[in-house]
Subunit: 266 residues, 2 copies
């Protein structure tokens, strides 16, 4: 057994949807969450800057003695995971490949859509992974830069969000995709709206897929906490904003006090 906590980080508050799935799937485990709310969003930034910010966060989480780090940010997963995994001596779970694996199981016609931030889509990682996982797959990807600010505004189902989703998703529907990966952790907050537009297309929520993958990883590596259940989780941010509390209530249906950290020191 290993009672050390699980580290989870994101560029901001979106990763709380992953934390929520992890807490649900692994009720015995403690979670240490870090959200880089001072420098959010990562989605429009360069690989170099995203990796620099991610390194600082990994150093912070290591100082909290975590046993594994979940990169609960589509942008950091697709741009910086490989570099981080080489540089640090700790296992990482990124959120891209679990969704790809789940997608490989559900697609029938092998025509797959992926949506995410500009940086996630630009990285092309989903495309590469999906082509490896699904022989003969046709992949159509689309950056949806307005989805994060819409989710954070709390406009999860109004006309503006529906129209925006229609504009973004129509070109994927025109390609007759039968499955759609939500490649950004904010997007599950818009799930109802996206589901209304894509109809019978199967939606793969990367947050759910990642929590399942983490559970399997802990079991296979004897890293589970088999002792007494976790007593508490800890939430850290680089800047205190009301947004953390708002999204925390939305994603975890709980109140948590976030502690502020000067992340540039790490």
């Amino acid at each position: 057994m290993d009672a050390r906590p699980i580290g989870i980080f994101d560029s901001g508050v979106g990763g709380l949807t992953v934390a929520s799935e992890v807490i649900k799937a692994l009720p015995n485990e403690s979670v240490v969450y870090f959200g880089d709310t001072a420098r959010v969003p990562y989605g429009s930034k360069s690989v170099e800057i995203i990796t620099k910010f991610s390194r600082q966060i990994v150093r912070f989480l290591l100082s909290k003695d975590v046993k594994v780090i979940v990169i609960a940010c589509g942008t950091a997963s697709s741009n910086s995971y490989t570099i981080l995994a080489q540089e640090f001596d700790i296992p990482f779970i990124e959120i891209t490949s679990p969704g790809v694996d789940d997608c490989a199981h559900v697609t029938r016609n092998k025509i797959v859509g992926v949506i995410g931030t500009e940086a996630t889509i630009r990285s092309g990682l989903y495309e590469t992974l999906l082509k490896n996982a699904i022989e003969g797959a046709q992949i159509y990807s689309k950056a949806c830069p307005l989805f994060v600010p819409l989710a954070e505004e709390g406009w999860t189902q109004n006309t503006v969000t529906r129209l925006t989703a229609e504009i973004y998703l129509q070109e994927l529907l025109d390609k007759e995709i039968d499955s759609l990966i939500l490649g950004c952790t904010h997007y599950p907050l818009l799930l109802n709206c996206i589901r209304d537009i894509v109809g019978s297309v199967r939606i793969i929520n990367a947050a759910e897929s990642t929590a399942r993958k983490l559970k399997q990883f802990l079991r296979e590596n004897a890293l589970e906490n088999t002792g007494s259940p976790a007593k508490s989780h800890a939430f850290y941010v680089s800047d205190n904003t009301n947004k953390f509390n708002r999204i925390c209530r939305l994603a975890l249906r709980q109140e948590h006090e976030a502690i502020k950290v000067d992340i540039e020191k790490y």
Copy 2:
């Protein structure tokens, strides 16, 4: 005469609308622009973080021997100007009060609207300044967090932007405002759309007001470059993104190569 350049900074690319007005109003002057594209946006961050980031940028601009610094960012102007002006030995022009002065000249019914980012509106600075400048004024302010991502997506006039603007602006129109201050430097990029919705309401573009105020300040303090015209401007960013080039073309109608700076070193 003083041939040193004018420093202008913003959290990202929005301040390019101010740079554009400054270059138009003062064709003899050189401009050194810094856009904090690695840490944009400031609008949802705390006063403490906004001030910390602004200090680093001021130190960078001082290293370029500027004669005056224009805070071309509504959020930094309303949250950090007073602190910066106390801490640094260089004149600052912020973008809040020039718009307020212009507004005082155009309002007839003294019912004034202000729109800006969450941080700008939360600071309450516009309200205070407007109440001092216009006796008996009624001020109604509204944060419009989706305007910046919409402008950056290039959706300057489509249905989504029009609907969003209607939602944000209707409550100000219901108060019968006769003038509206655009308290964020991105908003002039949505000018046509905003104008369509507010009809006869007078729009005060803070970028224009600020360039006029800067011109007056240079003249009154004998800081103008009365020698040969400026040969060039310099543009610096904390992260290279296509966005800079896109907005540069939109705001300045020119191409400029931006140089990348590690701003956390300042």
